[in-house]
Amino acid sequence: MASIELKNIRKTYEDGVTVIDNMNLEIKDKEFIILVGPSGCGKSTTLRMIAGLEEISGGELYIGDKLVNNVSPKDRDIAMVFQSYALYPHMSVYKNMAFGLKNRKVPKEEIDKKVKAAANMLDIEEYLHRKPRALSGGQRQRVALGRAMVREPAVFLLDEPLSNLDAKLRTEMRSRISMLHKELETTFVYVTHDQTEAMTMGDRIVVMKDGVIQQFDTPQMLYNHPKNMFVAGFIGSPQMNFIECLIQKKSENYYADFTYYSIKIPNKMNDYLKMYENKNVILGIRPEDLSIADKNDKENVMELYVDIAEMTGADYYLYGKINNEKFIANVSSNQNIESDKKYKLKIDVDRIHIFDKINERLICD
């Protein structure tokens, strides 16, 4: 168990490319932190720097109270689970799990006890004598988790551990890892590019882009109050709709005007919109904040020509275009909806987000 602190961390490669610049992050003891972002955003590099597998070009990294910039991976009291599992192919499952303890000269009886306890917890007892090549993807991943667990490290690092598994197994392993975190009461740092994994597992989430932290917050805060358009678009599935609109004041109320529609903005946002009067902003509407309008609904209603209607079970995903931009609505499936037809949609204006068009930062929500 340990906290992790990154102070002004920088990573520059030999060719001069800087992938992480001036990164500051404080991870509390026993927290489950997710690093999420698109490919190449620097999330894996950050994790590898914490593990000691990547040299730190600048700044300070603390695990607990100890500065570990120049401490080798084996002395950092960490364990890591890799995307490719990275099991030793010539060793049995038992030996794979025992290897780290053996290197630390733990007595044989204790190794045996720990390996069997971890195997029991992960349901891999019957495979202990097998070689990794005789196991399925999910079983290998559990062995990799077991290998990390038996070490009882202060910090658990997981680098996209579920990426190679099929959808069903991924859901199962997701809850298993969350349970493991509860039982082990250790700090977990988990890298993924899958926002569903991030939202369902993490206590707090670090959203990264181009080596810079965009927002570090709880899943609820990221979803309800994204700090910029990148976070708003990245978190949530299907992703948030963005519409360019003009802010206009009509008799003490502000309106967001686009194409033929004028959306009345709630009064709580008035103070923030004063300086944007008669200026273009970006209106963010989550697909799930739209619903099929009643005949009586007159205000905050827009029309969408549905190109494709996808039924997912409980919901319909309606795909169309507004202002030549892709627009998605997520509405209840308790009524029949067909493609190539127009539907009136009601916007839940209390849940809209307004972003600055130039710097893409949140103005109000």
Binding site: P73, F82, A86, P89
Partner: protein, 278 residues
């Protein structure tokens, strides 16, 4: 369908012919080793019959006169020593220059490749004279010389295999408490086993059968098998005891054929792995 059958039979016939071309000299050596030396030159292709068959006479004569036992052990020491040195040291070298990316390592790698294309005959006199000056003209001294000659191909083969290994396994070992030496011997080397066996077989066959290098460096004081056979069976004025010569040739190749048969499945696997993953 018909066309593919015909091409199948053509390639079968061609390969059969090729096999016979390669097997025929070995067949000649074996049958002639049981014939009297006077019948070999006159009827080299005939199978031993009542008049020409001499049993194991040639073998007994060869073993008695050519110091076969001494030569056998010298060859064994040189072959085993060189092969162990080549396998251990070149696999470590290949791992290092593949994993640690630098311009220097790139050049070292090219230097190893370059050494493969320099023919031995081109450097044999200068190399022999340098080796003698360095005191390498002994049974143990020749091992580093073989290491030098064998390292080009071996580093090339090991590098091809190492490139195909995921580096995460080595990183996992580092986190599990291994330093570089332990990572190599406990994690990397076991994974290199197929290539290591291939490298061992190829080098063992070459070193065991080599004539020129031990002839130049060790001369007649420390004869290896191939040198002993040549020097002993060649009499005065170029006269050759063909019977003894054939018998000793058969004896000399038996150990390496047995070694090959035991390990041949690994040769193919190792060569293919190196080729594909390189």
């Amino acid at each position: 369908m018909m066309k593919s059958k015909i091409s199948h039979w053509i390639s079968f016939a061609f390969l059969l012919f090729l096999s016979l071309v390669f097997i025929f000299p070995i067949y000649l050596v074996v049958i002639n080793s049981f014939k009297s030396k006077f019948n070999i030159i006159g009827e080299p292709f005939s199978f031993p019959d009542e008049d020409t068959f001499v049993g194991f006479e040639n073998y007994i004569y060869g073993i008695e006169s050519a110091d076969i036992v001494g030569s056998f052990f010298r060859t064994l020491i040189i072959t085993v020593g060189s092969v162990v040195a080549i396998v251990v040291l070149t696999s470590m070298t290949a791992w290092y220059i593949t994993r640690v990316k630098s311009k220097f390592n790139k050049w070292i790698y090219y230097l190893f490749l370059f050494s493969m294309i320099v023919p031995f005959q081109m450097v044999m006199y200068t190399m022999t004279s340098i080796s003698v000056k360095l005191g390498l003209n002994s049974v143990l001294g020749i091992i580093p010389v073989y290491l030098g000659f064998g390292s080009g191909l071996s580093v090339f083969m090991f590098s091809g295999f190492v490139k195909g290994l995921p580096s995460e396994i080595e990183e996992a070992a580092m986190i599990d408490g291994c330093g570089p030496i332990k990572t190599f011997f406990y994690v990397v080397f076991p994974m290199l086993k197929p290539t290591a066996i291939t490298v061992a077989i190829l080098n063992a066959m070459w070193i065991w059968n080599d004539f020129l290098l031990p002839y130049l460096l060790l001369g007649s004081n420390n004869k290896t098998l191939s040198v002993a056979i040549q020097l002993t069976m060649q009499g005065a004025y170029g006269a050759i005891d063909w019977g003894g010569f054939m018998a000793m040739l058969v004896l000399a190749v038996i150990p390496i054929i047995i070694f090959y048969l035991f390990c041949q499945k690994y040769i193919i696997k190792g060569v293919v792995d190196g080729a594909v993953k390189g």
